[in-house]
């Protein structure tokens, strides 16, 4: 029971994060490889504020969001001058720099030792300390993320994002300041990713830099692509599959190192197969990259 609750919580957190990545990758058509860096920003901000200063959870999660949004400007304003693959490379660079910071700024983050003993969050008097309560928190975050992205993409603002995805020059020709739209979408995506990181840090109670590597970014991106980019349900389905499928390997009595490698092989082959035979993902309609 506790185990299935654990899986559900992971699915909810990842789904919320994948939905936010979908806003930039699926709806705006910009592949970002730094989602895990934003998770890390949120996670480290809340973890450090909670363990060192005892700041309550709602405040620290907001602090994480503010930091993530500011840093998202630092990356999006310059790199949106570049298009397509160069944006991907710039986000990749950002991801590696932030990982370097988490790993090497030992005075602040304790480096590879990580930050242990993150307390259970207290939200306006509500102590979230059982797994069931955590599931409620994670699920409401997932719903909130889905709601935000759904509202954005079904508004005039979202239509501009779709126009940018299909033909950016055309959107500009229609008088849209595409830079503004892209920067705003990236900031929203970063804010949601940072909150996902904060929640998961409080759930696991321990963070270290290895949870925020580029592989994690690729994992979230795979969820978006495999579920179906640019659709409301796609990222959730993707998160569900990519979290539960590897868990099935647990029951096959494999050594842990083999299981970890098999898991990554599954992600990898699913990515290739999806790109080749079903670019719209399992439940999506938009054919990614065509």
């Amino acid at each position: 029971m506790d185990y299935s609750l654990h899986i559900l919580i992971l699915v909810a957190i990842y789904a919320g994060s994948a939905i936010s990545l979908d806003l930039i990758a699926g709806h705006t058509g910009l592949v970002s490889l730094c989602h895990a860096a934003f998770h890390g920003l949120g996670a480290y901000t809340t973890a450090l504020l909670a363990t060192r200063a005892g700041i309550p959870f709602p405040v620290s999660i907001l602090a994480g969001v503010v930091i993530a949004v500011l840093l998202s400007f630092a990356i999006s304003l310059p790199s949106f001058r570049l298009h397509g693959d160069y944006f991907t490379i710039a986000t990749f660079g950002f991801q590696m720099i932030l990982f370097g910071l988490f790993n090497n700024w030992i005075e602040l983050t304790r480096g590879p030792l990580g930050v242990p003993g993150i307390p259970a969050p207290v939200i306006f008097g509500w102590h979230v300390d059982t797994n069931l309560e955590f599931l409620v928190l994670a699920a409401s975050f997932c719903c909130f993320s889905g709601f935000v992205v759904y509202r954005i993409t079904n508004s005039p603002f979202g239509r501009v994002l779709h126009a940018i995805r299909e033909d950016e020059v055309f959107a500009q020709a229609n008088g849209k300041n595409t830079l503004y739209y892209k920067v705003a979408a990236f900031a929203v995506s970063a804010a949601l990713a940072s909150s996902a990181g904060s929640i998961s840090a409080h759930y696991v109670t321990f963070i270290d830099p290895t949870s925020f590597t580029v592989m994690e970014s690729i994992l979230v991106l795979s969820m978006v692509i495999i579920g179906g980019a640019g659709s409301p349900l796609g990222p959730m389905v993707g998160a569900m599959i990519l979290v539960t499928l590897p868990e099935a390997l647990r029951f096959m009595d494999l050594p842990t190192s083999v299981a970890a490698n098999l898991r990554q092989m599954i992600y990898g082959s699913l990515l290739v197969v999806m790109m080749m035979f079903r670019p719209q993902g399992l439940v999506g309609r938009y054919r990614f990259g065509r």
Binding site: D85, N104, I218, S222, N261, L271, V272, G289
Partner: protein, 295 residues
């Protein structure tokens, strides 16, 4: 002389960056996508060297040629079974990029499953003291690395000035137009993947005698090679070679002032600076689209 040693180290690792970056850039120029599977070829080559040289105890010359053949085959297979069908379906460069990420994950984890995640070594020769060069030390292996890499870069430079090179540049410049004048672009692209995986295997064999093997080292090296290709100018072969040396030197000179743990951050900071102020790269010329919008 600390600075001479640092410059030498920068040159050695820089020459490896150059060779990997050149292979990466050959594919980028002809197909226009970032091939992350390049790191997979590199990793595979390192471990096949371990297999043939240490586990099967083949003669080095035979082992090295086997490694190159196998890895070139793998490189061509990824093109034939994954990228070519994707191009047929008019997939965007982003789809190709994602597929290549998937391929990398598959290749790297195959290596991990076959040989385990622990460190493997192919260095069998006894450790000897290096030669003295202006107060700095350089080992014979390191001299071989620099010489072989320089030869490889020169060969490619000469190749690009022949008819073969002209065909390559035609495909790189305009795929459809090259097709119109009767160039078989599929063959050229297959050749590009062959060259790329060959250069990756040479780099892997050479660096294997300097640094021990781990399954994930290839990815890190590819990242550096990508940065090298971009700061050098990804649309020219000289750029990729130059960028590798510049990156290697910059990283090692940075050690002079900064703790070495910030080496990666130096590389990425350099990348961001170049993307901001000179996205064309060192050797890039205006007019060759390098991902910069015209506004």
């Amino acid at each position: 002389m600390v600075i001479v040693q640092l410059l030498l180290n920068g040159l050695i690792i820089g020459s490896i960056y150059s060779v990997v970056a050149l292979g990466f850039s050959v594919v980028f120029q002809t197909v226009r996508f970032l091939n992350f599977a390049h790191a997979g070829y590199y990793t595979l080559a390192g471990y096949f060297t371990f297999l043939f040289l240490v586990q099967f105890k083949f003669h080095p010359a035979i082992a090295f040629s086997f490694v190159c053949v196998v890895v070139v085959l793998v490189g061509c297979m990824t093109e034939f079974f994954v990228y070519r069908p994707l191009r047929r379906r008019r997939a965007s460069s982003q789809s190709l990029l994602l597929a290549s990420l998937g391929l990398y994950l598959v290749l790297q984890n195959l290596v991990s499953l076959a040989w385990g995640d622990d460190t493997k070594t192919i260095r069998t020769a006894p450790i000897v003291e290096g030669h003295n060069f202006l107060g700095a030390r350089i080992t014979t292996v390191q001299i071989v690395i620099v010489v072989v890499n320089a030869l490889l870069i020169c060969t490619l430079a000469i190749l690009m000035r022949t008819k073969v090179g002209k065909v390559f540049r035609a495909v790189a410049n305009d795929n459809d137009l090259a097709c119109c004048v009767g160039i078989s672009t599929d063959h050229v692209i297959m050749g590009a993947f062959g060259i790329a995986s060959f250069m990756a295997s040479v780099a892997a064999i050479l660096l294997g005698f300097e640094i021990d093997l781990t399954p994930t080292a290839g990815f890190k090296l590819l990242v550096m090679a990508m940065i090298a290709a971009i700061i050098g100018g990804i649309h020219s072969f000289t750029g990729a070679a130059l960028g590798g040396i510049v990156l290697g030197l910059a990283q090692n000179v940075a050690i002079w002032q900064l703790p070495s743990k910030w080496q990666d951050c130096v590389a990425f900071a350099l990348l961001i600076i170049f993307l901001l102020f000179r996205p064309l790269g060192i050797a890039g010329r205006r007019g060759s689209d390098n991902g910069v919008e015209s506004q």
